[in-house]
Amino acid sequence: MKRSNKPIFWSLFGAGGMLSALVGPALIYKTGFSSQALGYERALLLAQNGFGKLAILAVIGLFLFHGCHRLYHSLHDFGIHVGPGLKAAFHGFAAAGTLAAAVLLAHIS
């Protein structure tokens, strides 16, 4: 019987789900409804700091993996059965977004 590679993506989905459940409400509130937040200096400071970089990468990357995984399943739920190619595209998209975030963070010093 063929082993599924879901464990990799499910772990990322789970991590993203957990993170978004914990910090999602506060983050969205801050970016959407609190204009004082995220001033340039503070944002830059955060993005320059090692832990800060990690936090930003985690939020962007894991949110993407979480969201894309569910998006893919939702298509299936709506009766749109995407093949393995498109499935890879969803995860690939999340991976690309994560990579982009990592590159950007590396450039901020």
Binding site: G16, G17, A21, L22, V23, I28, T31, A47, D77, L104
Partner: protein, 119 residues
């Protein structure tokens, strides 16, 4: 043996339980979009202060406001469902299910408070 197989189309409309499930799943659209929005902000931050401030400015547009409002509602629902089903997804725990849920909700409250103060 001849059998009849009923179609699945529109199944999520057949039972409120399924509608709530679909709502939960719909949160992913917003979480994905939100991550992309942050990614865009990161890009602008890496460019320069001016561009970053432009991005911040765009966050106060009506469109952004509406997006955030929907996203907030759905992500709160996502948080709630995430911890409500948590006892089923965790490895066997010596704790009663209710306590796991309460613990999860408490963690959300703690994280939210911390972030509200820190950011």
């Amino acid at each position: 043996m001849k059998t009849y197989i009923r179609p699945m189309s529109g199944w999520w409309k057949r039972n409120p339980f399924y509608l709530w499930y679909m709502l939960r799943e719909a949160s992913c659209v917003f979480i994905t979009a939100y991550a992309l929005m942050l990614l865009w902000g990161l890009y602008r931050l890496q460019q320069s202060r001016i561009q970053y401030e432009e991005w911040r400015e765009s966050l106060s547009s009506p469109l952004s406001f509406a997006f955030h409002a929907f996203a907030l509602v759905l992500v709160v629902y996502h948080s709630w469902t995430w911890f409500k089903i948590m006892p089923k997804t965790l490895p066997r725990m010596p704790l009663p299910d209710g306590l796991v849920v309460v613990g999860g909700v408490a963690a959300v409250v703690a994280c939210t408070t911390a972030l509200m103060v820190l950011i």
